[in-house]
Symmetry: D4
Subunit: 165 residues, 8 copies
């Protein structure tokens, strides 16, 4: 089963990824969750980034708030695609994090998503879209997800999970 790594700067960011953590298995993807900070545990973060391929990880998702460097620091140490989710913490509600993630310099991209829960949930889907190129069994799931969304308009995680079977 293809595998992604979700790195969060803090335990308190985990609830934001509630829907995502249900989506990954429903899309046939294994997720490994680690708490690590680019600044407070730089060594651990570096080891997560460089050790990922050896653990069969193919996509890394990093969620962080404030001066959100986590995704960029990981991207500096890997050639795996890195997805960044700006966390909407006070006082600027993720506006600073969005800029600190998206505006990466030439050579080291971070695939930045929406600040907050929208981006957190979408990180599961974007990683699935990426993995579906290599793992065709995910394609059917994503096509089914599009049908569920077209029918329900809203994205309700229960309806999505039920639809994905």
């Amino acid at each position: 089963m293809p595998k992604v790594l979700l790195v969060l700067g803090s335990n308190s960011d985990l609830p934001l990824f509630g829907d995502a953590l249900k989506l990954w298995p429903a899309l046939g993807i294994e997720v490994q969750v680690e708490i690590s900070s680019a600044h407070r545990s730089p060594q651990r973060t570096l080891e997560l980034a460089t050790g990922a391929p050896g653990q069969g990880i193919e996509v890394i998702i990093a969620g962080a708030g404030g001066a959100a460097h986590l995704a960029g620091v990981i991207a500096a140490h890997t050639i795996l695609p890195v997805i960044g989710v700006p966390i909407n913490v006070p006082p600027f509600n993720g506006f600073d994090s969005l800029l600190a993630m998206a505006q990466m310099p030439k050579g080291v991209p971070v695939a930045t998503l929406a600040a907050g829960e929208f981006g957190a949930t979408n990180s599961a889907i974007l990683s699935a879209q990426i993995l579906a190129l290599k793992y065709p069994q995910i394609q059917g799931k994503l096509t089914r997800l599009k049908e569920i969304m077209e029918q329900n308009v809203a994205f309700k995680i229960d309806a999505v999970l039920a639809g994905l079977g």
Copy 2:
């Protein structure tokens, strides 16, 4: 050879992707360029999105300015990963485009990069990172790119191309 599609809202956005258009072949990736607007040529945009898989395209990059809907509209019509590049046009220099691309709702992610040339160039690298999962020959190129960057610090396209061979 793996293939990506670059869709731009306007011909005038093409120079911004100058480095990217050199990087794709150097990384062993074919790129197809199309000019289409989410708003002025919606039918053409829709056909590009839905027709992409049939043409062997595996990643779509969309660059647009202002109320930059192009990437989101394409993402609504495909399960391929979609990368968005906010174009830094006046009067807000891509600040509006960054928000209009990144803040996508649950269910339909756009992998948003930096506004302007940084994001344009990085769209080649991010698409290569995504394709490298499936096409191992690209992995060596990306590892080589990291070495070149570590040695040169700066990202000079000529040095990069020379290094990639």
Copy 3:
């Protein structure tokens, strides 16, 4: 009776249009409400846009939050006037939506109103002002509305409805 279409990206946006939904009938206008997302139900959105004239609809109002593409996508598929209402959802409270709606490219305008309840309520009045050009009976209602506002200064929906009779 002239008719407008209100398209919302989500059921949860409906309360914001509470006053508007009372104003339309009071101004002699029929309103049809549909929930559709530019990204999750693009096909449905497209059909709403292209099918509007056939249903006697003359003005379309679209309310959406985040990377609010709904109004722009509808405007791409119709020559009817399209009014956009940025919805003030977290984390950026409609600031992103305002830019994603207003900054439309040449050729496809969206008549953008205030983020949040002010814009939602005003969408009823702007659509009435547009329809009043063709349906003179609405002109008297709008003139009466101006008098009520001049007298009450505040815009209290009950006073407005009572005054419009």
Copy 4:
């Protein structure tokens, strides 16, 4: 021939409306241009607003920069639809004007367009969309405009004018 009024806060804003001033006649609409300031010539502005219906004007477009009150002040004195175009003057390039136009209070909407040339050009198209409800001959022009844009993707005024005939 249906008629619109374009009010600009300053003569220096006129070039921004270069394409718009060609589009109006091409779409079969007469345009009357007036220079008036909400603050420097409030009496003249008030007379333009209240006198518009008597001159056969059916839509008013107001372009202004900085604390752009012009559209709002006009809207306070008329029941005609008022379109606002934020002018991108330094030092904030129309960011202030966009907020000062869009964020109108309940009861008095301004149909706000993009800051700068995009909005200026689109003011001609939005006014035509509004007038087309009453004047069916404009509908064919707008449908033709959509076809021209679909074919050219870009919005080049010469191609548009040639296409409109």
Copy 5:
């Protein structure tokens, strides 16, 4: 006793001026409060502006939120100094109002204060500073206020009122 006029766009803005309404009499200034909207009751607003000198009013304070035109519209119709207080209403908390008030064009200034309660309270003090030039008895009060603030550091209205005697 010198006299100022406080015009608010809405009754709901009055509590924000709670401290100010206590400060004016304590500083020996009479305040007349009126509710009027630049957009909903433009005629009443105009009459307040033009009628002010006849009522012995020497400074006008205008508080408004959103696209806050009230101060600018009043300033257009009077040569009295006009003080603007941006009201911190959702969704942008007065950020739009600050820009809509401060960025006035050449010829018609608005003396803009801080968004929210700070600005509201300070409008009493700024108007007193202006009037003190003509009414020397206010100078002693303002000098006393500076001493109270120097002693208390904080600005607690009860301490201030007690100190002013």
Copy 6:
């Protein structure tokens, strides 16, 4: 002749006040210009603030860019009305200065004007409006200025000066 003090943080800000420096004498007001920085020459700034009344100065205008503290620092040391003009220096073009001037705490107001030339020119007019309360001869000038503006719409300094006589 009534007298105002213009304090600028830097000699290079002087050209921005070109029109203002012509307006003051035309309005019958004497202006004293001083260059002083809140941070680099705090002692001199303090002396200018506290010494102003002794020199017959009745209004102080402070222009500064970046973290523009000049007006606030002066206001802390005087009971004279202080007008702040945010200077539009790079990289943020006065956006930082506007916030640093307007958002003053309770007790010490700064009458903030528009960033850049608009605010600079208006500082002459606002100071005249303030002084006109005490010096009736200025009232006629200001009334004349309103008439000139109503006639010319634009604010051209030559026309204004000619009109003021």
Copy 7:
């Protein structure tokens, strides 16, 4: 024991520095807390700045909200390093304070930290890093702090204090 001075614009800002006030003694640093406002008690602020060296103070920390001039005003009167903490007060949540602190002119730097609690807590650590250059006993504490953070990832004050012993 080395000594720092914490100056806050208001008593109500003190809780934000709760963790910092525990960190200073744990890092072997004495902290003196003073409440003083740049604007309301300028004399007291000036005396705190100029008197600091005489009291053995080697670093000054200033926390303030809104148009946060406190750190800049202190920096103007001392050659000690000055650390600024933007306080996240409504309505702009410290966004104005961040700009008003960071954007200091040439010659007078303020070492600006994050708006809100992050910056408040970090002011203790930055001051310790500065003092550790001169007082080697602090170096061990800071090295220990880095180890604690690497182990805990999160920054929990209790774990930090326990670890520092």
Copy 8:
């Protein structure tokens, strides 16, 4: 002679530090300049951070643009004080860099200065203020600098250097 390390993300940022590079020797401080990117040469950056103490470096200054992580990444790997200078590169002119530097999480501060040349020049002065605590000979230089600034108001590098002798 005390020594600081200046790390820049790119050679092209060097001219911005022109004045700073003259100030350091004039203040009796040795400066070592290195070009290294947090993202393109992460290994080199890490070695610069960890190797600094061994080279006698006591303060590190990092200048970077866009998603400016350089200062934060260095701060994660050292207990030396780290000063961050946001570089004003397009399209957002350092606004993104300011947020990406200042908003650091608890535990790892970056002493952030103004975006652009002001911050670059001030990094020399702030580092001197820090070093002056330990190296009293710098104190006289800084006191002299304050006198020069008080006399000249403006900060002209030639006058400053001449004054420092």
